[in-house]
């Protein structure tokens, strides 16, 4: 029966090719959406871990979202430094700002930390670290290289280095600068900070402050993207449904065209189960080939998105499994055709 099924598939190869490409495109979109949601988590993880903190101290009541931490006096850093268990307490500023880049405006996340401190040291793709006022290290997504000039809140900065994979809020590039410069653009020079990045683990902290682990900061920050993630996940469901409809349409039309064949096969001894098995095999095969096409297409389509796209390994396991499920579900629509085929109809002229 498998041979008959494959021969039929080859005989109708144009139909199958069109449906496979259609389903493949939809699967590719699904894969990209999975990559986008994973990208949100990945960028937060990369940025937060780039601060090299054991724990974060923030103002009580702050949700712990890295891009919207409640401001507090810089003096808090000294108080935290004196707490038992703390080996180093580094004040940092993290605040979204608008930057003027190459004549246009771009959203950036300004990250300010003392020169030479752990949070200021990011892996560089080119250039050098920030060594004084008026200098910035930028993420490559900003689209400028070392030597370029950008302006934040009207203050000019020279790009001295370029880092990679340092973004927040769905691909918004980070701009690392000296703490005072960050305070100048974010708080008009006031000694205000967003958080204290701590090396070591304090056994107590001054009143009015709260401690977050790195994981806690990451989880809270990802929560900021919850609505976007939910929307994307809903879109993924639609995509699966569209793929199922494409495959189901193909299988149903094939079953309609093969009504006479089914009657003949039954008259020659085929069971309903074998006929349905053949249809299900075709549907699953189409869905799996579509999944394979999707994996290739998705690699080329990532460039369309400004947001970071990070394909999780699980997506490459889930996709073929889901494709099999889509194929089986789609073939159910043709089940009745296979079961109800009347072998006596083979006699009709």
């Amino acid at each position: 029966m498998l041979g008959i099924t494959i021969s039929d598939l080859l005989y109708r190869r144009r139909q199958f090719l069109i449906a496979t490409l259609g389903a493949g495109l939809v699967f590719a979109m699904t894969l990209l959406l999975a990559g986008l949601t994973a990208g949100f988590a990945a960028e937060i993880d990369q940025t937060v871990s780039g601060f090299h903190a054991d724990v974060w101290v923030v103002k009580t009541g702050s949700a712990g979202r890295i891009a919207s931490l409640a401001p507090m006096p810089e003096g808090v850093a000294l108080q935290v430094a004196r707490e038992p268990g703390v080996r180093r307490a580094t004040p940092v500023v993290i605040l979204p700002q608008t930057a003027s880049v190459n004549g246009g405006l771009q959203q950036v996340n300004v990250v300010g930390a003392p020169v030479g401190s752990a949070p200021a040291r990011q892996p560089l793709a080119s250039g050098t670290e920030v060594s004084g006022p008026g200098q910035v290290v930028v993420d490559a997504r900003l689209g400028v290289g070392a030597g370029a000039t950008i302006a934040i809140s009207g203050r000019p900065f020279t790009v001295v280095g370029v880092t990679q994979d340092r973004t927040l809020l769905g691909g918004t590039p980070n701009v690392y600068t000296e703490l005072r410069d960050a305070q100048a653009v974010a708080f008009q020079g006031a000694p205000i900070i967003s958080a204290v990045v701590v090396t070591g683990v304090p056994t107590s902290i001054p009143p009015g402050l709260a401690v977050f682990t790195t994981t806690g900061i990451e989880r809270a920050s990802l929560g900021q993207m919850a609505t976007a993630v939910q929307s994307i996940n809903n879109s993924k469901l639609f995509m699966w449904a569209i793929a199922a409809v494409i495959v189901a349409s193909l299988v149903y039309v094939t079953a309609l065209e093969r009504t006479r064949d089914f009657a003949v096969l039954k008259a020659l001894g085929a069971s309903s189960g074998k006929l349905y098995g053949g249809l299900a095999f075709q549907a699953v095969l189409v869905a799996l080939i579509a999944a394979l096409i999707a994996v290739v297409l998705a690699q080329f389509m990532t460039g369309v998105f400004k947001q970071p796209v990070d394909f999780p390994a699980s997506a490459f396991v889930v996709l073929p499994l889901s494709a099999v499920a889509v194929g089986l579900l789609s073939s159910l629509i043709a089940l009745r055709r296979a079961v109800s085929a009347d072998p006596a109809k083979a006699f009709a002229g």
């Binding site: 008959i4 021969s7 005989y11 001894g269 002229g349």
Partner: protein
């Protein structure tokens, strides 16, 4: 009694809400090795009979015994085995799978029966050689003539060397050169160990047949004299599906013409009164009655042959009042 015994075979089905009976208490016998021809026009029940013989259609009533097997009583795996091993079917429209080559089409029944690929291939090639198609084994149906396709269909029907081969209008789509080849092949296949039953409306086949069964026999009453028929109130003269060779004129009383619906209800079509006639279409066209006739009150009729009817009512069929039965 022969190897094949068909007794009182009746098939009824629903056709647009009306009850249709293509086979009504059919009886026939045939022996091993015979080429049996089922003769009759379209709609006389040839294909229905072949469907029953091949185990693809359950009759409404009656029995079929082939080599001692109660075919009507078969079900499930036994019926499947009968279809696969005992009967080979040659369909009217060839019914080859368009996606498969000639060899693959012949292999299909063997594949479905679980025969190994190598064995099935060898058998298919041998059968295609037998039907003189060795040169066409890799051709698809659309690359072959009608006669060649029919040969592939015959080869397919022979894969399990069945003792019964049924062929439905095997020459219907062929030109005369192809017809000759197919008929000779069927004649050759009917030999000790195998019975071949062929349905056709082409009476040329009867010349090579061992047995001819006419499913729509011509009227034996072509020259009979008119006779009077008395009916009591409610008495049924004939029923829908009956074969009849007489036309009736109402002399006294009236006759209701009605159709039986498949759900058992009746639909009154008309009531024929004195001076009018009914029942002419069936005998003239050699078709079963399309409706039933029943007396309304005490009724007297004149029953006449078609020839007599045409003399007494010299009008065209198109002139006849409706409905006719």
């Amino acid at each position: 009694m022969g190897e094949l015994e068909v007794r009182d075979l009746t098939v009824e089905f629903d056709s647009g809400g009306y009850k249709v009976r293509p086979l009504d208490k059919l009886c026939l016998d045939a022996d091993d090795g015979e080429l049996v021809v089922l003769l009759g026009p379209s709609g006389c029940g040839k294909t229905t009979l072949l469907s029953c013989l091949s185990g693809l259609l359950k009759p409404t009533d009656g029995t079929i015994r082939f080599q001692g097997i109660d075919v009507v009583g078969l079900a499930g795996a036994e019926l499947g085995a009968y279809r696969r091993k005992t009967v080979g079917v040659v369909f009217q429209a060839f019914n080859l799978l368009a996606s498969l080559s000639a060899r693959q089409n012949v292999m299909v029944p063997m594949t479905l029966a679980g025969v190994g690929r190598r064995e099935a291939t060898e058998r298919a090639l041998a059968l295609l050689e037998r039907v003189a198609l060795s040169e066409r084994v890799t051709h698809r149906p659309n690359q072959m003539s009608g006669g060649q396709q029919q040969r592939v269909a015959i080869a397919r029907a022979l894969v399990h060397d069945p003792p019964l081969v049924v062929a439905d209008e095997p020459t219907a789509h062929l030109d005369h050169i192809q017809v000759e080849g197919i008929l000779m092949l069927l004649r050759e296949l009917a030999a000790p160990g195998r019975m071949v039953i062929v349905s056709t409306h082409d009476d040329r086949i009867t010349h090579i047949a061992d047995r001819v069964i006419d499913l729509a026999p011509q009227s034996p009453n072509g020259n009979r004299a008119d006779v009077d028929v008395e009916l009591a109130d409610g008495q049924v003269l004939f029923e829908q599906g009956d074969r009849g060779d007489l036309v009736y004129a109402v002399v006294a009383g009236a006759v209701e013409i009605y159709r039986e619906r498949f759900d058992g209800s009746e639909e009154i079509l008309t009531c024929v009164g004195v001076g009018n006639y009914f029942g002419e279409i069936g005998p003239m066209l050699n078709l079963p009655r399309s409706a039933s006739a029943r007396a309304r009150g005490a009724t007297r009729l004149t029953a006449m042959s078609v020839r007599s009817f045409r003399k007494r009512f010299p009008m065209t069929v198109a002139d006849a009042r409706k409905p006719s039965v």
